[in-house]
Amino acid sequence: MCTTCGCGTDEVKVDGHAHAHGHEHAHGKVNEHAHPHENGHGHGHDDHHDHGHDQALHSHDHMLAPSRAVTIERDILARNDAEAAVNRRRFAEHGIFALNLVSSPGSGKTTLLVETISHLQGEPAIAVIEGDQQTSNDAELIRATGARAVQINTGKGCHLDAHMVGHALEHLEPADDSVVMIENVGNLVCPAAFDLGEAHKVVMLSVTEGEDKPLKYPDMFAAADLMILTKCDLLPYLKFDADLCEANARRVNPSIEVMRLSATTGVGMAAWIDWVRDGARAVREAKAATVESLRNRVAELEAQLATRG
Protein backbone atom coordinates (compact mmCIF):
# COMPACT_ATOMS: atom_id res chain seq x y z
CA MET A 1 0.00 0.00 0.00
CA CYS A 2 1.11 3.49 -0.73
CA THR A 3 1.36 5.04 2.73
CA THR A 4 1.23 8.58 1.48
CA CYS A 5 -1.72 8.34 -0.85
CA GLY A 6 -3.68 5.70 0.98
CA CYS A 7 -4.45 3.57 -2.06
CA GLY A 8 -5.29 0.07 -0.99
CA THR A 9 -8.07 0.30 1.61
CA ASP A 10 -11.78 -0.32 0.91
CA GLU A 11 -12.83 2.78 -0.96
CA VAL A 12 -9.31 3.27 -2.20
CA LYS A 13 -9.24 -0.19 -3.65
CA VAL A 14 -11.35 1.43 -6.32
CA ASP A 15 -8.76 4.18 -6.40
CA GLY A 16 -6.07 1.49 -6.40
CA HIS A 17 -7.60 0.35 -9.66
CA ALA A 18 -6.84 3.75 -11.10
CA HIS A 19 -3.24 3.28 -10.05
CA ALA A 20 -2.84 0.48 -12.55
CA HIS A 21 -2.95 3.17 -15.21
CA GLY A 22 0.67 3.93 -14.59
CA HIS A 23 0.87 6.67 -12.01
CA GLU A 24 4.37 7.32 -10.89
CA HIS A 25 4.70 6.81 -7.18
CA ALA A 26 8.11 7.85 -6.05
CA HIS A 27 7.04 7.99 -2.40
CA GLY A 28 5.39 4.56 -2.33
CA LYS A 29 8.26 2.98 -4.16
CA VAL A 30 10.78 4.36 -1.73
CA ASN A 31 8.90 3.23 1.34
CA GLU A 32 8.26 -0.25 0.13
CA HIS A 33 11.68 -0.86 -1.33
CA ALA A 34 13.73 0.62 1.45
CA HIS A 35 12.65 -1.92 4.03
CA PRO A 36 13.37 -5.18 2.20
CA HIS A 37 16.75 -3.72 1.30
CA GLU A 38 17.51 -2.87 4.87
CA ASN A 39 16.48 -6.33 6.10
CA GLY A 40 18.22 -8.14 3.31
CA HIS A 41 21.55 -6.59 4.09
CA GLY A 42 21.10 -6.84 7.79
CA HIS A 43 22.21 -3.37 8.74
CA GLY A 44 19.99 -2.21 11.54
CA HIS A 45 18.86 1.22 12.44
CA ASP A 46 21.57 1.51 15.10
CA ASP A 47 24.38 0.76 12.69
CA HIS A 48 23.24 3.55 10.53
CA HIS A 49 23.19 5.98 13.41
CA ASP A 50 26.53 4.93 14.80
CA HIS A 51 28.30 5.77 11.60
CA GLY A 52 26.22 8.82 10.79
CA HIS A 53 27.82 11.73 9.04
CA ASP A 54 31.39 10.79 9.79
CA GLN A 55 31.15 7.75 7.64
CA ALA A 56 29.82 9.82 4.78
CA LEU A 57 32.68 12.28 5.15
CA HIS A 58 35.21 9.53 5.58
CA SER A 59 34.22 7.71 2.43
CA HIS A 60 34.06 11.06 0.72
CA ASP A 61 37.79 11.55 1.24
CA HIS A 62 38.61 8.25 -0.37
CA MET A 63 36.45 8.67 -3.42
CA LEU A 64 38.50 8.51 -6.57
CA ALA A 65 35.92 9.87 -8.96
CA PRO A 66 35.88 13.68 -8.99
CA SER A 67 32.73 15.43 -7.84
CA ARG A 68 30.74 17.84 -9.92
CA ALA A 69 27.95 20.16 -8.96
CA VAL A 70 24.51 19.98 -10.54
CA THR A 71 22.34 23.05 -10.07
CA ILE A 72 18.70 22.13 -9.44
CA GLU A 73 16.78 25.13 -8.00
CA ARG A 74 13.50 23.28 -7.80
CA ASP A 75 10.74 23.63 -5.23
CA ILE A 76 10.52 20.53 -3.08
CA LEU A 77 6.73 20.48 -3.33
CA ALA A 78 6.82 21.15 -7.10
CA ARG A 79 5.25 17.79 -7.86
CA ASN A 80 2.38 18.41 -5.45
CA ASP A 81 1.93 21.93 -6.77
CA ALA A 82 1.82 20.68 -10.37
CA GLU A 83 -0.90 18.17 -9.45
CA ALA A 84 -2.76 20.86 -7.53
CA ALA A 85 -2.67 23.02 -10.67
CA VAL A 86 -4.24 20.14 -12.64
CA ASN A 87 -7.00 19.84 -10.02
CA ARG A 88 -7.53 23.62 -10.02
CA ARG A 89 -7.84 23.67 -13.83
CA ARG A 90 -10.31 20.79 -13.69
CA PHE A 91 -12.42 22.66 -11.09
CA ALA A 92 -12.37 25.83 -13.22
CA GLU A 93 -13.30 24.02 -16.43
CA HIS A 94 -16.30 22.44 -14.75
CA GLY A 95 -17.38 25.51 -12.78
CA ILE A 96 -16.72 23.74 -9.47
CA PHE A 97 -16.16 25.69 -6.25
CA ALA A 98 -13.71 23.64 -4.17
CA LEU A 99 -13.00 24.18 -0.47
CA ASN A 100 -10.34 22.55 1.69
CA LEU A 101 -11.63 22.21 5.26
CA VAL A 102 -8.89 22.00 7.86
CA SER A 103 -8.97 21.81 11.66
CA SER A 104 -7.91 19.70 14.60
CA PRO A 105 -9.81 16.42 15.08
CA GLY A 106 -13.20 16.88 16.69
CA SER A 107 -13.86 20.51 15.74
CA GLY A 108 -17.09 19.55 13.96
CA LYS A 109 -16.07 19.42 10.29
CA THR A 110 -18.31 16.49 9.42
CA THR A 111 -21.28 17.87 11.40
CA LEU A 112 -20.95 21.21 9.62
CA LEU A 113 -20.76 19.40 6.26
CA VAL A 114 -23.91 17.38 6.96
CA GLU A 115 -25.79 20.54 8.00
CA THR A 116 -24.42 22.47 5.01
CA ILE A 117 -25.71 19.80 2.63
CA SER A 118 -29.13 19.98 4.28
CA HIS A 119 -29.23 23.82 4.11
CA LEU A 120 -28.09 23.99 0.46
CA GLN A 121 -30.79 21.52 -0.63
CA GLY A 122 -28.99 20.73 -3.86
CA GLU A 123 -28.57 24.36 -4.90
CA PRO A 124 -25.82 24.04 -5.75
CA ALA A 125 -25.15 20.29 -5.61
CA ILE A 126 -22.38 19.27 -3.24
CA ALA A 127 -19.95 16.35 -3.26
CA VAL A 128 -17.46 15.51 -0.55
CA ILE A 129 -13.96 14.06 -0.35
CA GLU A 130 -13.31 12.73 3.15
CA GLY A 131 -9.76 12.32 4.43
CA ASP A 132 -8.99 10.22 7.49
CA GLN A 133 -6.20 7.88 8.48
CA GLN A 134 -8.65 5.00 8.92
CA THR A 135 -12.35 4.08 8.55
CA SER A 136 -14.98 5.24 6.09
CA ASN A 137 -17.32 6.46 8.87
CA ASP A 138 -17.33 10.06 7.69
CA ALA A 139 -18.04 9.23 4.04
CA GLU A 140 -20.94 7.06 5.22
CA LEU A 141 -22.34 9.95 7.28
CA ILE A 142 -22.20 12.15 4.18
CA ARG A 143 -23.75 9.50 1.91
CA ALA A 144 -26.62 9.14 4.38
CA THR A 145 -27.62 12.71 3.40
CA GLY A 146 -27.85 11.63 -0.25
CA ALA A 147 -24.73 13.55 -1.31
CA ARG A 148 -21.87 11.89 -3.14
CA ALA A 149 -18.77 11.14 -1.07
CA VAL A 150 -15.44 9.40 -1.50
CA GLN A 151 -13.27 8.39 1.43
CA ILE A 152 -9.50 8.61 1.26
CA ASN A 153 -7.67 6.67 3.95
CA THR A 154 -4.16 8.01 4.31
CA GLY A 155 -2.98 5.09 6.48
CA LYS A 156 -0.19 6.71 8.47
CA GLY A 157 -0.28 9.91 6.41
CA CYS A 158 -0.98 13.12 8.30
CA HIS A 159 -2.48 15.16 5.44
CA LEU A 160 -4.10 14.92 2.01
CA ASP A 161 -2.00 15.83 -1.01
CA ALA A 162 -3.00 16.92 -4.50
CA HIS A 163 -2.28 13.49 -5.97
CA MET A 164 -4.77 11.76 -3.65
CA VAL A 165 -7.40 14.39 -4.38
CA GLY A 166 -6.88 13.91 -8.12
CA HIS A 167 -7.58 10.19 -7.66
CA ALA A 168 -10.60 10.85 -5.50
CA LEU A 169 -12.03 13.18 -8.16
CA GLU A 170 -11.86 10.39 -10.72
CA HIS A 171 -14.21 8.35 -8.51
CA LEU A 172 -16.32 11.19 -7.22
CA GLU A 173 -17.10 12.63 -10.67
CA PRO A 174 -18.61 15.81 -9.24
CA ALA A 175 -21.31 17.48 -11.35
CA ASP A 176 -20.56 20.64 -13.34
CA ASP A 177 -21.34 23.87 -11.46
CA SER A 178 -21.30 22.08 -8.10
CA VAL A 179 -19.41 22.50 -4.82
CA VAL A 180 -16.68 20.07 -3.75
CA MET A 181 -15.80 20.07 -0.05
CA ILE A 182 -12.55 18.35 0.85
CA GLU A 183 -12.45 17.41 4.52
CA ASN A 184 -8.77 17.15 5.31
CA VAL A 185 -7.23 14.89 7.95
CA GLY A 186 -7.79 16.42 11.42
CA ASN A 187 -4.43 18.13 11.94
CA LEU A 188 -3.60 21.81 12.37
CA VAL A 189 -0.01 21.46 11.17
CA CYS A 190 0.74 19.45 8.05
CA PRO A 191 -2.21 20.22 5.72
CA ALA A 192 -1.12 23.89 5.67
CA ALA A 193 1.77 23.12 3.31
CA PHE A 194 -0.16 21.11 0.72
CA ASP A 195 -2.13 22.87 -1.98
CA LEU A 196 -4.93 20.59 -3.22
CA GLY A 197 -6.16 22.91 -5.97
CA GLU A 198 -8.91 24.42 -3.78
CA ALA A 199 -10.32 27.93 -4.07
CA HIS A 200 -9.93 28.51 -0.32
CA LYS A 201 -8.67 26.80 2.78
CA VAL A 202 -11.30 27.13 5.49
CA VAL A 203 -9.97 26.59 9.01
CA MET A 204 -12.42 25.54 11.69
CA LEU A 205 -11.89 26.04 15.39
CA SER A 206 -14.40 24.88 17.99
CA VAL A 207 -14.99 27.05 21.05
CA THR A 208 -14.17 24.08 23.28
CA GLU A 209 -10.55 24.52 22.16
CA GLY A 210 -8.29 27.37 23.32
CA GLU A 211 -8.56 30.88 21.89
CA ASP A 212 -4.77 30.84 21.45
CA LYS A 213 -4.87 28.07 18.81
CA PRO A 214 -4.12 30.58 16.00
CA LEU A 215 -0.93 31.56 17.86
CA LYS A 216 0.04 27.96 18.56
CA TYR A 217 -0.52 26.83 14.96
CA PRO A 218 0.04 30.04 12.99
CA ASP A 219 0.85 28.45 9.62
CA MET A 220 -2.62 27.00 9.21
CA PHE A 221 -4.35 30.26 10.12
CA ALA A 222 -2.00 32.13 7.79
CA ALA A 223 -2.88 29.75 4.93
CA ALA A 224 -6.67 30.00 5.42
CA ASP A 225 -8.97 32.66 3.93
CA LEU A 226 -11.83 31.98 6.35
CA MET A 227 -11.95 30.91 10.00
CA ILE A 228 -15.17 29.39 11.32
CA LEU A 229 -15.72 29.28 15.07
CA THR A 230 -17.93 26.22 15.61
CA LYS A 231 -20.08 24.99 18.50
CA CYS A 232 -20.89 28.61 19.44
CA ASP A 233 -24.08 27.41 21.18
CA LEU A 234 -21.72 26.26 23.97
CA LEU A 235 -20.23 29.75 24.56
CA PRO A 236 -22.44 30.51 27.61
CA TYR A 237 -20.97 27.48 29.39
CA LEU A 238 -17.32 28.16 28.56
CA LYS A 239 -14.65 30.73 29.37
CA PHE A 240 -13.72 30.93 25.68
CA ASP A 241 -13.21 34.56 24.58
CA ALA A 242 -14.35 34.61 20.95
CA ASP A 243 -13.20 38.23 20.39
CA LEU A 244 -9.72 37.39 21.64
CA CYS A 245 -9.67 34.33 19.37
CA GLU A 246 -10.55 36.50 16.36
CA ALA A 247 -7.86 39.01 17.34
CA ASN A 248 -5.32 36.18 17.60
CA ALA A 249 -6.27 34.90 14.14
CA ARG A 250 -5.83 38.41 12.70
CA ARG A 251 -2.42 38.66 14.33
CA VAL A 252 -1.17 35.89 12.07
CA ASN A 253 -3.43 36.72 9.12
CA PRO A 254 -4.74 40.33 9.02
CA SER A 255 -7.03 39.57 6.06
CA ILE A 256 -8.73 36.40 7.39
CA GLU A 257 -12.55 36.41 7.38
CA VAL A 258 -14.26 35.09 10.51
CA MET A 259 -17.68 33.51 11.09
CA ARG A 260 -19.27 32.24 14.29
CA LEU A 261 -21.90 29.53 14.09
CA SER A 262 -23.48 26.47 15.58
CA ALA A 263 -24.33 23.65 13.20
CA THR A 264 -26.50 22.12 15.95
CA THR A 265 -28.80 25.10 16.58
CA GLY A 266 -28.39 26.63 13.12
CA VAL A 267 -27.42 30.07 14.52
CA GLY A 268 -24.94 31.71 12.15
CA MET A 269 -25.43 29.10 9.43
CA ALA A 270 -27.09 31.56 7.03
CA ALA A 271 -23.90 33.65 6.61
CA TRP A 272 -21.88 30.52 5.85
CA ILE A 273 -24.44 29.20 3.36
CA ASP A 274 -24.48 32.62 1.61
CA TRP A 275 -20.68 32.59 1.51
CA VAL A 276 -20.67 29.15 -0.14
CA ARG A 277 -23.41 30.11 -2.63
CA ASP A 278 -21.63 33.39 -3.53
CA GLY A 279 -18.35 31.56 -4.11
CA ALA A 280 -20.05 28.89 -6.20
CA ARG A 281 -21.86 31.53 -8.28
CA ALA A 282 -18.61 33.40 -9.00
CA VAL A 283 -16.88 30.22 -10.21
CA ARG A 284 -19.91 29.22 -12.29
CA GLU A 285 -20.11 32.66 -13.89
CA ALA A 286 -16.37 32.64 -14.65
CA LYS A 287 -16.79 29.29 -16.41
CA ALA A 288 -19.82 30.57 -18.36
CA ALA A 289 -17.84 33.66 -19.43
CA THR A 290 -14.95 31.49 -20.64
CA VAL A 291 -17.31 29.22 -22.59
CA GLU A 292 -19.02 32.27 -24.07
CA SER A 293 -15.75 33.83 -25.23
CA LEU A 294 -14.61 30.49 -26.68
CA ARG A 295 -17.91 30.22 -28.60
CA ASN A 296 -17.45 33.73 -29.96
CA ARG A 297 -13.91 32.90 -31.02
CA VAL A 298 -15.07 29.72 -32.76
CA ALA A 299 -17.78 31.72 -34.57
CA GLU A 300 -15.19 34.31 -35.66
CA LEU A 301 -12.86 31.63 -36.99
CA GLU A 302 -15.70 29.86 -38.81
CA ALA A 303 -16.67 33.17 -40.41
CA GLN A 304 -13.09 33.72 -41.53
CA LEU A 305 -12.95 30.21 -42.91
CA ALA A 306 -16.22 30.76 -44.80
CA THR A 307 -14.92 33.92 -46.54
CA ARG A 308 -11.79 32.10 -47.66
CA GLY A 309 -13.50 28.77 -48.52
Partner: protein, 113 residues
Amino acid sequence: MHEMSIAEGVLGIIEDTARREGIREVRTVRLEIGQLAAVEIPALRFCFESVVRGSVAERARLEIDEAPGQAWCFGCCESVPLAARVDPCPRCGSHQLQVSGGTQMRVKELEVA
Protein backbone atom coordinates in the same frame (compact mmCIF):
# COMPACT_ATOMS: atom_id res chain seq x y z
CA MET B 1 5.23 14.82 10.36
CA HIS B 2 4.86 16.32 6.90
CA GLU B 3 8.68 16.40 6.98
CA MET B 4 8.42 12.82 5.68
CA SER B 5 6.54 14.00 2.60
CA ILE B 6 9.05 16.79 2.16
CA ALA B 7 11.96 14.32 2.41
CA GLU B 8 10.21 12.16 -0.21
CA GLY B 9 9.81 15.24 -2.40
CA VAL B 10 13.56 15.87 -2.14
CA LEU B 11 14.30 12.25 -3.03
CA GLY B 12 11.89 12.48 -6.00
CA ILE B 13 13.84 15.46 -7.36
CA ILE B 14 17.18 13.69 -6.77
CA GLU B 15 15.99 10.55 -8.56
CA ASP B 16 14.58 12.52 -11.51
CA THR B 17 17.90 14.32 -11.85
CA ALA B 18 19.94 11.12 -11.44
CA ARG B 19 17.95 9.38 -14.19
CA ARG B 20 18.22 12.34 -16.53
CA GLU B 21 21.94 12.91 -16.00
CA GLY B 22 23.11 9.33 -15.44
CA ILE B 23 24.30 10.06 -11.90
CA ARG B 24 25.53 7.03 -9.95
CA GLU B 25 26.14 8.62 -6.61
CA VAL B 26 25.02 11.78 -4.89
CA ARG B 27 27.54 13.05 -2.33
CA THR B 28 25.93 16.25 -1.11
CA VAL B 29 22.39 17.58 -1.30
CA ARG B 30 21.98 21.31 -0.69
CA LEU B 31 18.55 22.60 0.27
CA GLU B 32 17.28 26.06 0.99
CA ILE B 33 14.57 26.13 3.66
CA GLY B 34 12.93 29.38 4.67
CA GLN B 35 12.61 30.29 8.33
CA LEU B 36 8.81 30.56 7.88
CA ALA B 37 8.38 27.36 5.84
CA ALA B 38 7.00 25.38 8.82
CA VAL B 39 9.70 22.75 8.53
CA GLU B 40 11.43 21.25 11.56
CA ILE B 41 15.01 20.91 10.35
CA PRO B 42 16.00 18.06 12.75
CA ALA B 43 12.83 16.14 11.75
CA LEU B 44 13.63 16.71 8.08
CA ARG B 45 17.19 15.39 8.58
CA PHE B 46 15.84 12.30 10.32
CA CYS B 47 13.29 11.64 7.57
CA PHE B 48 15.87 12.27 4.84
CA GLU B 49 18.18 9.63 6.35
CA SER B 50 15.29 7.15 6.28
CA VAL B 51 14.00 7.77 2.76
CA VAL B 52 17.36 7.81 0.95
CA ARG B 53 18.33 4.28 1.98
CA GLY B 54 18.82 2.12 -1.08
CA SER B 55 18.87 5.17 -3.37
CA VAL B 56 21.67 7.01 -5.19
CA ALA B 57 21.70 9.44 -2.28
CA GLU B 58 22.14 6.79 0.43
CA ARG B 59 25.45 8.25 1.58
CA ALA B 60 24.76 11.86 0.76
CA ARG B 61 25.42 14.66 3.21
CA LEU B 62 22.47 17.00 3.69
CA GLU B 63 23.35 20.69 3.79
CA ILE B 64 20.58 23.11 4.64
CA ASP B 65 20.79 26.86 4.08
CA GLU B 66 18.17 28.63 6.17
CA ALA B 67 16.70 31.65 4.41
CA PRO B 68 15.57 34.47 6.74
CA GLY B 69 11.89 35.31 7.15
CA GLN B 70 10.70 38.63 5.79
CA ALA B 71 7.44 40.56 5.80
CA TRP B 72 5.95 43.78 4.45
CA CYS B 73 4.76 45.98 7.30
CA PHE B 74 1.72 48.06 6.36
CA GLY B 75 2.44 50.43 9.26
CA CYS B 76 6.06 51.14 8.36
CA CYS B 77 5.50 50.72 4.60
CA GLU B 78 8.68 48.74 4.31
CA SER B 79 10.11 45.27 4.35
CA VAL B 80 11.12 44.01 7.82
CA PRO B 81 12.81 40.85 9.09
CA LEU B 82 10.44 38.32 10.71
CA ALA B 83 11.63 35.26 12.64
CA ALA B 84 8.20 33.71 13.31
CA ARG B 85 4.68 34.17 11.97
CA VAL B 86 3.25 35.31 15.30
CA ASP B 87 5.94 37.93 15.87
CA PRO B 88 5.07 41.63 15.61
CA CYS B 89 6.91 44.07 13.36
CA PRO B 90 10.35 44.56 14.98
CA ARG B 91 10.15 48.32 14.22
CA CYS B 92 6.59 49.40 15.14
CA GLY B 93 5.17 46.38 17.01
CA SER B 94 2.16 46.05 14.68
CA HIS B 95 0.80 42.72 13.42
CA GLN B 96 -0.33 44.20 10.10
CA LEU B 97 2.27 42.16 8.26
CA GLN B 98 2.27 40.30 4.98
CA VAL B 99 4.90 37.58 4.79
CA SER B 100 7.06 38.27 1.73
CA GLY B 101 10.01 35.92 2.11
CA GLY B 102 11.34 32.91 3.95
CA THR B 103 8.63 30.40 3.01
CA GLN B 104 10.63 28.63 0.30
CA MET B 105 11.60 24.96 0.30
CA ARG B 106 13.99 24.29 -2.55
CA VAL B 107 16.59 21.79 -3.71
CA LYS B 108 19.40 24.09 -4.80
CA GLU B 109 22.26 21.86 -5.81
CA LEU B 110 23.66 18.35 -5.80
CA GLU B 111 27.30 17.36 -5.64
CA VAL B 112 27.52 14.14 -7.59
CA ALA B 113 29.93 11.56 -8.93
